[in-house]
């Protein structure tokens, strides 16, 4: 495959059907680079695909693809995980290396951060060992120029023997030139294999000796693997390569490496790494000229404040508080509007529609009290979820999230982890499931397991609907603060549990890790929108799948045995009633509360859906006259305008600007929905806070359980998470309720 860029498609169904074959050139391009070099942004800019882009290390874990046509050539881009090297130590490095060695793409597109040339070239040197044609995208070139860096691109091309194209993925410059080079094989100007860099006399001699031995004893290996790469891996004693190549004959290697070991010692891996670093350093010195007196950069100025030893953590907590307050204030009026729509017009319209087709009466109840009440009460929180995802995406894209991980590094060390583990935990604020998958970015199994155990304590978006319903009913004036307290409680308990685990299940010191802090950037609005949608759509999909399915099942469980008069006597009611005494000391020992918690085991937002099914019917029964279709439409229109106005108004009031909102308005808003009205009769404020504490902490949802089992290949860690979280949830809710009562907050 080396040096060839023309590949014809495999036999297609068209061919098999004796139709005229359509031969289209397919060029497979593997996109490789360091984290934060802008790989995903570059692919987005080229292919228009919507890959997730973060501004801090460790987000891109999965291999992703994008296919498109360019000048008659089908280009298949394969986005490899961001790695600093091709050593088989992290999951990302293994994925990237296996793909390049075994799949042998036609071309490697090496995305290099021009502002961090030396560090990025270390990977370039390793990619060049593979003998696959390499094209370098010298990305973030505009920022490098703005910093006063002068990069001699022509000299770089000459020294490396590969095309080097300056690009800016965010400004979409240089991309056409990059694609031109990638498909240039068609014009007879194939991208050649890169230069073979000289690793020094000793290493080259040892590699040649091994090559000679392999030609005699294992000639197949030299064809199967890239020769240069294989030889260098055998020189450095790569255990994985020795294992996969079945080179158990150590005498073959020890003879060839005898002189090398005598000259450099036993650790030949370190020797090779040093050589590669020297090459990267040397290349950088040759091609890069930095201004003699570097300007004090904005990033450094901001970092002096946000990474301050004393103020770092308070600033992080303040940033979180602002985020939650904004989320709550901006989205609440819209959420209330959707709630009004679901409780009113949507129900009326569903009833009318089913009445028209003479559907059985129970199906009307299933549709309105089951599907609409269950799924609808979850959909109410769509504005809130999207608002929070927007702010999280903004913090990620701006570069602050990496700083948050950095300031938490010391706290993380206290629990036997390092700051890098905080990244999956931060992702957990969005959804625990991708956060659990993100633990694969951690290098050792101990860190992975410990982080995955703590991730469910990070309050995910699915729990938000439960909080908001209760906050709206009981704490309308201090919504943002109550919400913030729950998120902080999750973090504090994660630190406490981590400390306990460190002393019991995971003894040992935290490994060292150097964290990369990308420069601050203002994320583009388009990028913010795309990534907010990517994060939030998962919630919509869940509403249309898990939540819908469980809402239907819950309705049946609440109505079986058939004809049951009181929901308390239904199957779900009976199970709830059996569990209720255990929750009594926590202040919410009713069958309704326990039934909702049981249903929420599938996904936490279902707690709200189930409450909608249980409670709302009672409240609805009191209403008499139904409005007409025209009245419903009028309510919807005027309600939306009012809600949008309130949202905008709340943004200003968040920052202390005088607002039209008053305490009275807040009270009115809180009493508007039937579910909240009913909850106020069932819970006291203290019991409500104990309930949301329980929801925050009780066992991870089934979706997270599946993720954990898939990631670790065992039920062990999920079993531990289930056990400790149930105990923790019960204990903390007890502490809140009984402690609150003792302190005089009322029962």
């Amino acid at each position: 495959m080396n040096g060839q860029t023309v590949v014809k498609e495999q036999e297609s169904p068209m061919k098999r059907g004796n139709l005229r074959p359509v031969e289209q050139r397919v060029v497979t391009i593997a996109v490789a680079g360091n984290p934060n070099a802008g790989k995903s942004t570059l692919i987005n800019a080229i292919a228009g695909s919507r890959l997730h882009v973060g501004n801090w290390p460790g987000v891109t874990v999965e291999k992703k693809e994008a296919s498109f046509d360019y000048q008659g050539t089908k280009i298949r881009l394969v986005d490899l995980p961001g790695t600093y090297s091709l050593s088989p130590y992290t999951q990302e490095e293994i994925i990237a290396r296996d793909y390049l060695v075994e799949e042998r793409p036609d071309l490697i597109l090496n995305v290099v951060d021009a502002t961090n040339l030396e560090r990025n070239l270390y990977l370039t040197v390793q990619l060049m060992e593979l003998g696959i044609p390499v094209v370098m995208a010298l990305n973030i070139y505009d920022e490098a120029q703005a910093k006063g860096y002068r990069i001699d691109v022509a000299q770089m091309e000459k020294m490396l023997g590969i095309p080097v194209i300056p690009t800016s993925a965010t400004k979409k410059t240089g991309l056409d030139q990059l694609l031109e080079v990638a498909v240039s094989g068609e014009k007879g100007q194939q991208v050649a294999a890169p230069h073979q860099l000289n690793y020094g006399e000793d290493i080259e001699a040892a590699a040649e000796l091994i090559a000679g031995s392999l030609r005699n004893s294992h000639p197949g290996l030299l064809e199967r693997y890239p020769t240069r790469w294989l030889l260098l891996k055998l020189v450095e004693g790569d255990a994985e390569v020795q294992k996969t190549t079945n080179l158990t004959d150590q005498s073959l290697l020890s003879e060839a490496l005898y002189h090398l070991r005598r000259a450099h010692g036993e650790d030949l891996e370190a020797v090779l790494a040093e050589v590669r670093y020297s090459l990267a350093t040397g290349l950088t010195r040759e091609v890069l000229k930095k201004p003699e007196l570097p300007r004090t950069e904005v990033t450094e100025k901001i970092d002096r404040i946000v990474l301050h030893r004393v103020f770092g953590i308070p600033i992080f907590l303040a940033a979180m508080w602002i985020m939650f307050k904004l989320t709550f204030d901006v989205s609440k009026p819209l959420a209330d509007w959707i709630s009004t729509m679901i409780a009113g017009p949507f129900k009326h319209w569903a009833e009318a529609l089913l009445g028209l087709i003479h559907a059985p009466e129970w199906t009307v109840s299933l549709a309105t009290d089951g599907i609409i009440a269950g799924t609808g009460n979850v959909l109410v929180f769509v504005p809130m979820i999207f608002a929070m995802m927007f702010f999280i995406t903004f913090l990620e894209g701006s570069g602050y999230m990496a700083r948050a991980a950095f300031v938490m590094d010391r706290a993380m060390h206290a629990i036997g982890l390092h700051g890098k583990s905080f990244i999956p935990m931060l992702l957990g604020f969005g959804c625990n499931v991708p956060a659990i998958y993100a633990t694969r970015t951690l290098e050792n199994p101990r860190d992975k397991a410990l982080t995955a155990l703590l991730v469910p304590l990070m309050s995910c978006g699915a729990r938000l609907p439960v909080y908001v319903v209760f906050i709206g009913a009981f704490f309308p004036k201090n919504g943002g603060t109550v919400l913030w307290s729950l998120y902080v409680m999750g973090i504090v308990l994660a630190i406490v549990m981590g400390f306990i685990f460190k002393k019991t299940l995971f003894r040992g010191d935290a490994p060292m890790f150097i964290m990369e802090l990308p420069p601050y950037r203002v994320p583009s609005l388009k990028s913010l929108m795309i990534h907010t949608w990517e994060k939030g759509k998962h919630f919509l999909v869940k509403a249309g799948t898990y939540v819908l399915a469980v809402s239907i099942m819950v309705w049946f469980l609440l109505n079986l045995p058939w004809g049951v008069e009181h929901k308390r006597d239904s199957y779900l009611g009976q199970v709830g009633a059996a569990v209720a005494p255990a929750l009594s000391p926590l202040g919410f020992g009713s069958w309704e509360a326990s039934s909702s918690l049981i249903a929420g085991l599938v996904a936490k937002e279902i707690v709200v859906g189930t409450m909608g099914e249980i409670y709302v019917k009672k409240a609805e029964e009191k209403k008499a006259e139904k409005p007409t279709f025209a009245q419903d439409l009028q309510t919807a229109g005027s309600g939306l305008v009012k809600a949008l106005g309130e949202s905008v108004n709340n943004v200003t009031s968040t920052f202390g600007v005088s607002s039209l909102s008053t305490a009275e308005d807040a009270e009115k808003l809180a009493e508007r929905t039937p579910l909240r009205e009913e909850l106020k009769k069932q819970f006291t404020p203290l019991a409500a806070y104990a309930f949301i504490t329980f929801v925050l902490l009780y066992m991870p949802c089934v979706v997270a359980a599946v993720a954990m089992v898939q990631e670790f290949g065992t039920w062990k860690w999920y079993g531990i998470a289930f056990g400790y979280q149930m105990v923790l949830a019960w204990s903390m809710a007890l502490l809140v309720y009984q402690g609150g009562k003792l302190l005089g907050f009322g029962g």
Binding site: A47, R50, H52, E65, S67, K542, I552, M553, F556, Q710
Partner: protein
């Protein structure tokens, strides 16, 4: 509850169960998808 009601209820419950099974258990392996909607696996 007549026989037709029982059939409708069974179909709805079976549909809901399949939806839950399909979305929860059948989607083994996490994939963020790609631009052509595929999830390339080696």
């Amino acid at each position: 509850m007549g026989i037709s009601d029982m059939i409708i209820a069974t179909v709805i419950l079976a549909g809901a169960s399949y939806l839950l099974y399909h979305s929860l258990w059948k989607k083994k392996g996490h994939c963020h998808g790609s631009c052509d909607g595929s999830c390339h696996k080696k």
